[in-house]
Symmetry: C2
Subunit: 249 residues, 2 copies
């Protein structure tokens, strides 16, 4: 059997290059090939975050993952991306696939891996965790997500409004992701449940143009970007209440 | 008004020193005073993780947070810790408070902050996010927590078994923390719901003695350490199913 390269999946965090881990930093400096997901022709966020690591000595693989729902076309895109990655691995070169946030949370990496394992079943693999935008948002707000016995739910709103309602009913803190396309429906739901005053909006966490909005009714639904989220703290538990007050939310 | 020092809350990740961020690394090298939470006299995990940053030139503040439930005694401990931190801040020295994982997820930091704000209402503050043990566990397992439209719940079991049952009923992936003291009850619940084969156990994430157990019935309840968790993937959604299979879970 030939000696093959190792595939690294690197969580690059939400945007701030200093939120990369030392592990990610070391591997990005060390690998020959850096692969990044790319949307509609424009430079992807992962590539922007780790731009300083892309030196002339390295190969940059921009892997095209179209923002579509067609399983057939997506599968084709993953297969093509996997083929490119496999060509380097089989030549014995290490490849670092960089993903925003953390690889375990809504990352494209595992689709790529699935396609790659058809080509290289025993691919040598290392996952490097990253900072989630959820933790980045909490850092900007200087508030805890959960304390003591509290429970946390993380729900993508765009295709799952029923799950959002369910989470708001039963969890102490609910992080609602992918709100841009269903912003008005989510806001109506928060209004109906009397949770608007317990909701904070954050967009573009980790970037210099990050923005926090406490009065979410002031938001223009048409300007809510893809990288935005609501944090809803239901106030069910006393411990969080006092903390909430103490940190000025 | 006197110039005061800045307080940093640093998420040190679950155990692996390379899982510190570049931001944490920079601040830990730069500050004069490093504060760490400490349990029953023994060296705390946060201190172990960042041990290499504790040079003779720095002050190490070991803040005693007893593992008790008495609000009165806890409040006393936080007040005493805050007083120590405040004494450095008011002298114009920066203090880095180091916490395991991420500061927003079940961290003692916000209790300390609450006490400190009574003494220094306008304390200059910066939160540095960290890698959660949840992401660390997923990295070790090389499996995603959630994909696509899936929902995630994070529930501490020890004081909230009803919330665990609720989460298992409605969420695609449930991370159950603080399982040591209620291990048998949680396992019985997973059995009852037919979820044992969809559950993975991980302990001491980020450490060299980290351990993954796929067949959770093989676990000895008496040896389950505090730093352990279950990840339960309910298999409700097809996308995750195929991914689960592809990564060999």
């Amino acid at each position: 059997m030939s000696v093959k390269g190792r595939l690294y999946a690197i969580g690059a965090g939400p945007g701030h290059v200093e939120w990369l881990t030392l592990h990610a930093d070391r591997i990005l400096k060390q690998v020959e090939v850096i692969a990044v997901p790319q949307g509609q022709g424009r430079k992807g966020r992962a590539e922007q975050i780790i731009a300083s690591y892309i030196t002339p000595a390295k190969v940059l693989l921009q892997l095209h993952f179209p923002m579509i729902t067609s399983t057939e076309l997506l599968t084709k895109a993953w297969d093509e991306a996997a083929l490119q990655v496999a060509s380097f691995l089989t030549q014995g070169q290490d490849v670092a696939f960089v993903t925003e946030g953390d690889p375990s949370l809504f990352s494209t990496f595992y689709y790529l891996l699935q396609a790659l394992r058809v080509m290289i079943p025993d691919v040598a693999l290392e996952i490097i965790p990253g900072i989630s935008s959820i933790f980045g948002a909490s850092a900007i707000l200087a508030t805890p997500l959960v304390m003591g016995a509290e429970s946390l739910a993380v729900v993508p709103a765009s295709s799952n409004l029923a799950a959002v309602a369910q989470a708001l009913q039963h969890f102490d803190t609910v992080v609602i992701l992918k709100i841009a396309r269903v912003f008005e429906q989510v806001l109506a739901m928060l209004d109906q449940k009397g949770l608007v005053e317990r909701t904070v909006y954050v967009e573009n966490v980790g970037y210099s143009h990050a923005r926090v909005v406490m009065d979410v009714h002031q938001l223009d639904p048409h300007t809510v970007p893809y990288m935005s989220l609501f944090i809803v703290r239901s106030g069910r538990q006393d411990a969080r209440e006092s903390t909430r007050e103490s940190v000025g939310l």
